[in-house]
Symmetry: C2
Subunit: 436 residues, 2 copies
């Protein structure tokens, strides 16, 4: 077998955004010798770079490149075949990506918020001009999830996709689990290590994961999903107790995005904390990693895990999109948002979500609380599986746990609403589905 | 967004082999309505089927199909664009695949032994005729490993790939681990459940995994690897003790294929039992599943797990290749065996493989054995980490374990050769690397 020569013309790249990811990408693209990536059949070359304060950013090691303050200059440049959007945010990125696609430039982006908000429109602009939109880096970091959904799992009848989609939240949960930290301490650790931003709301509150889940649902189930369709909750309510009680149940908290097809043409979407089994694959995923479980009727379950964020992981995912674009050449493209428009599924509600639940209460202790709660659960046709309470706790803020058998979540919500009105709660009850 | 219509002509398929996988594939290809797979942009149609005793196999639910005894008829038929090779074995499959490729037919195969033996030659025939060779199902069952190696991880600088590549062995090991079975009992269970063949040698002895590892090494590292390059051992030496001692060490046995780039342009290849940590992702993979860990300089570690065998998993992997072929149209193909021929790497030996080891001895007990072994290890510059022995054991066949600090395996081999010559061994010592 002889060496394979490049079969495609050079792909000329306009890089918008020269921060951590942009610089990591440029380093990969200019690497040579034994340390270079392993493909040999394509040539990728950066011709233009845009960034604010370009004089501060200009990199001497990137030769023959034009530098710009304004990314829009890249979107129309004749010597650019594809642009990489690493600007972030929505408005400016939207203007830039739309202009580039309209001018027939391929676009590679890592911007999940942009795609969740404007993905369908941008795909339509791409289809009209013959350009291609690619965004492997936007979901699950370096894990090639979108590619396998578009290329491999099209042969499956998918039933659900669930995943650890936010590395910051997973870092905080595993710090709480393994180091016994409080939520506040673990969040401060994450900020100190650069895993969480100064304002961590989008990460710990679930919005970031919800944007990714919307993209997954679009590609895997052919459904246009808006953030309002996704029941979204964060991790801020978790306490060290939940890890102690979890361990007694052989479980541990993990923040999961979930899209599940419900019999009767429904689609259930949520981002929230699940109690997973400690010997499960999700429980083995620690730190700022991502992981995804794909379940199908045909081929069983598939699990993918890897780096969820960081300059190198994001840059390699962008790089893989550029290689794909280069290899595609004049081939008709598989549209980014899946290969079909499915019959619409209704948005399932908590009536359709059936699971066993972990319920954690924090109460000001007095006789009769358990009886009151048990009566209320019974009134809502909920069967108690176990009651756990640690000994020697503070009577003024006494945490205990009730696990219940599988039931529609709407019943749990009704019961909890009623319990919340009782006089003993020190903080609102926490309910988490218990997932295999 | 409007519905996407098929953009490609129908791909006409000749299916050679109508057993479990062939029938599962035909069912997927003829499914319609809500139970059909989710792509809508390609049309795949079976025009011919070949199988021995075709009269016994002929399926009434597969309309408009010509049936043949001899697969070679498919390789030259004008109404076949792509053949699927599910014959198995090497000789007949080789003749069939070569003839089909020479006639410009695309080939999709699940046959790892064929590719390990003749892959380079078949790829050359494909390149000459413009046909495409695809074999996603040949490695790691339904996990789209080869696709992500060819398409996503080309942007990485890979350092090692390790994996549970044989579902039969993994089933046996996890039965021993979780049900306390002996090797013989677990093997009998595997045979009863259809996970192991009547002659299980290729599965439990490591050859099946070695064929898959050769394909992985070819695609990921651009190296032509023959089975003789791979240090191959099976699982037959494992005893229930190894799971008990393993648990005391926080470890459990897993049979892993490993290809690792060694500094100084070497490539180390092995198939054998490793002691992995019980909280690792590999330890979470139970039953007849497969799993692969990809390690890279840039993007960190990636882990994939899923169904490793079975009709449905294999059929969906074949199906994904057919969809890819159909979508590719006239696009220049990425050759199956990677996109480049790398500078040759020498085959590293046990001198280059450095790890801590688990050493298990079974001895006829007498005073001074530990001293003899410790002296021998010391003579070979091997540091003992721990000595474990269960109480109250049979003096005539007394198993105990020594763990040693990281050392080149060649030193361990030399020491064990010397220990083996001593008078107390009831069976040969077992040595397993201890892997994170």
């Amino acid at each position: 077998m002889t060496a394979i020569r490049p079969s495609y013309p050079t792909l000329r790249i306009g890089l918008a955004g020269f921060g951590t990811v942009g610089q990591a990408l440029a380093q990969l693209l200019t690497a040579s010798g034994p340390s270079a990536p392993i493909h040999r059949d394509v040539e990728l070359r950066i011709t233009r770079v845009a960034n604010r304060n370009v004089e501060r950013k200009r990199a001497g090691w990137l030769p023959g490149v034009s530098w710009h303050e304004d990314p829009l200059a890249l979107a129309t440049a004749a010597d650019v075949d594809a642009v990489v959007e690493l600007i972030g945010g929505i408005e400016k990125a939207y203007e830039f990506v739309k202009l580039a696609l309209a001018n027939g430039k391929h676009v590679v982006t890592a911007n999940k918020a942009l795609l969740a908000a404007h993905g369908d429109e941008l795909q339509a602009v791409a289809a009209a001009s013959g350009a291609s939109l690619r965004a492997e880096a936007s979901v699950a970091g370096g894990i090639p999830l979108l590619r396998v959904l578009r290329e491999s799992f099209v042969s499956h009848r998918l039933t659900s996709i669930s995943g650890i989609l936010n590395g910051t939240s997973n870092f905080i949960l595993t710090e709480m689990e393994r180091e016994g930290r409080t939520y506040g301490e673990a969040l401060a650790d994450a900020q100190r290590l650069g895993y969480a931003e100064a304002d961590p709301t989008a990460d710990v509150g679930g919005t970031d994961a919800a944007c990714k889940l919307a993209i997954i649902a679009r590609i895997a189930f052919g459904q246009g999903v808006s953030l309002g369709d996704i029941r979204t909750g964060g991790i801020g309510q978790l306490r060290p107790w939940d890890f102690i009680y979890g361990r007694k149940l052989g479980r541990t908290p993990r923040q999961l995005g979930l899209v599940r097809q419900i019999p009767g043409d429904g689609l259930f979407l949520s981002v929230r904390t699940h109690m997973v089994q400690t010997d499960s694959l999700f429980a083995s995923v620690a730190g700022p990693s991502n992981a995804v479980l794909i379940q199908s009727q045909d081929g069983g379950d598939f699990f993918f895990a890897g780096a969820g964020a960081g300059g190198a992981a994001t840059a390699t995912a962008v790089y893989s999109d550029l290689i794909e674009l280069s290899r595609c050449g004049q081939r008709p493209e598989t549209p980014f948002f899946g290969t079909y428009e499915a019959a619409p599924l209704h948005r399932a509600t908590s009536k359709d979500f059936v699971a066993p639940f972990y319920l954690r209460f924090v109460v000001r202790d007095r006789p009769g609380i358990l009886a009151d709660i048990a009566r209320c659960l019974s009134d809502h046709h909920i069967n108690i599986d176990a009651v756990l309470q640690l000994p020697d706790q503070h009577k003024e803020a006494f945490p205990f746990v009730i696990t219940i058998e599988a039931v529609a979540e709407s019943q749990v919500e009704d019961a909890i609403r009623q319990i919340l009105a009782m006089d003993f709660n020190v903080e609102p009850p926490l309910s988490c589905p218990m997932t295999p």
